[in-house]
Amino acid sequence: MTDPRPGLIGRRLEGVDGIIAVSSGKGGVGKSMVASTLALHLAEKGHSVGLLDLDFTSPATHVILGIDGLFPEEEYGIIPPVTHGINYMSITFFALDKPTPLRGADVSDAITELLAITRWGDLDRLIIDMPPGLGDATLDVIRFIEGIRFLVVTTPSKVAYETVRKQLALLKKLQIPIIGVVENMTREPTDYVSLKVENDGAQYLGAIGYDERLEESIGDEARLKETKFYAEASKLYSKIN
């Protein structure tokens, strides 16, 4: 008995020039905000970009970007709807706003299905918003997506960085390219994270200060782009090729 889906994934992604997994060992560090705004930034710069939310049990990018009332087109697979200049795919299209409790094997199956049937077409960049940690989703994108690169997000917290340190170690061991580490939600200048990142052999891309007005802009693309967060994040994103 052979699963016919994994063999399709490479074909579905052959028109995509670069795939970036936005990831962290820890939840709550702002991965989804970074993934969403990175996609917005790239679209704003004129790139063709896709955003895939793989955080199946707690998807959030649709909330950040205010995506509602869309559904993929079914044509020899499924075609992501385009919103805010972004080709967008998320399990929320299928979960219809209901909680979706999934165990590891189910997460793997759902990831395989979405990667096998989604027709992204030609893209400059596909951004993947990953769930936190080193579980099935992380192992699956490494297994299925050749050439994937990781953009790692942390906060200044020692607790968050401890999980990121392990994630960096795993990625290095598996020889998966690491774009660098973004330090999010900083409140005052400190070199704790930057020194740790350098010590752990990765590139420190910079810090994004805590923006107390960011919450007010959730769900509104135009207001998101006017935030201090977006201005600071865009400077860091311009370092990413």
Binding site: T2, P72, Y76, L96, D106
Partner: protein
């Protein structure tokens, strides 16, 4: 037309297996279709016909239906998925990504959404039969 994507997977996988086994032609491809995904057999069959390659030009396609068997992880209840038991929008969602069944279906005995899909999830390539050059 999601069936086309899965048919592509079947053809590509069957071709890979035939090459591994050194087959010069494929005579039969058996596909198991899990009822949970509610695949349209006619569309899948049509797509498989359209996607035929010279390697499988005379192959027989056999499509077998496998009932969706579910088992509760909490109380061990086993039951069979009933497509009529869910609404149209929910059916369509499960058709695309069967795992979202966990959002719409719960154990008929204890009500938990924590169940296993024992069999009958989606499309699987069960077997291929073919001829080697020296057969």
């Amino acid at each position: 037309m999601h069936e086309w994507a899965l048919a592509e997977g079947v053809i590509q996988t069957a071709t890979g297996i035939a090459e591994e086994q050194g087959l010069e032609k494929i005579t039969e491809i058996v596909v198991r279709i899990g009822e949970l995904q509610q695949i349209e057999h006619d569309i899948l069959q049509f797509a498989l016909e359209q996607l035929r390659t010279p390697l499988m030009k005379d192959a027989k396609y056999t499509l077998e239906t496998i009932p969706g068997k579910l088992k509760c992880r909490i109380c061990d209840e086993e039951w069979t998925f009933n497509p009529q038991g869910v609404g149209e929008a929910e059916s369509e969602a499960i058709h695309f990504v069967p795992e979202v069944a966990h959002a719409y279906i719960s154990c008929p005995s204890c009500g938990s959404p924590d169940f296993q899909i024992l069999e009958g999830r989606g499309v699987l390539l069960a077997s291929i039969t073919g001829v080697k050059p020296d057969d």
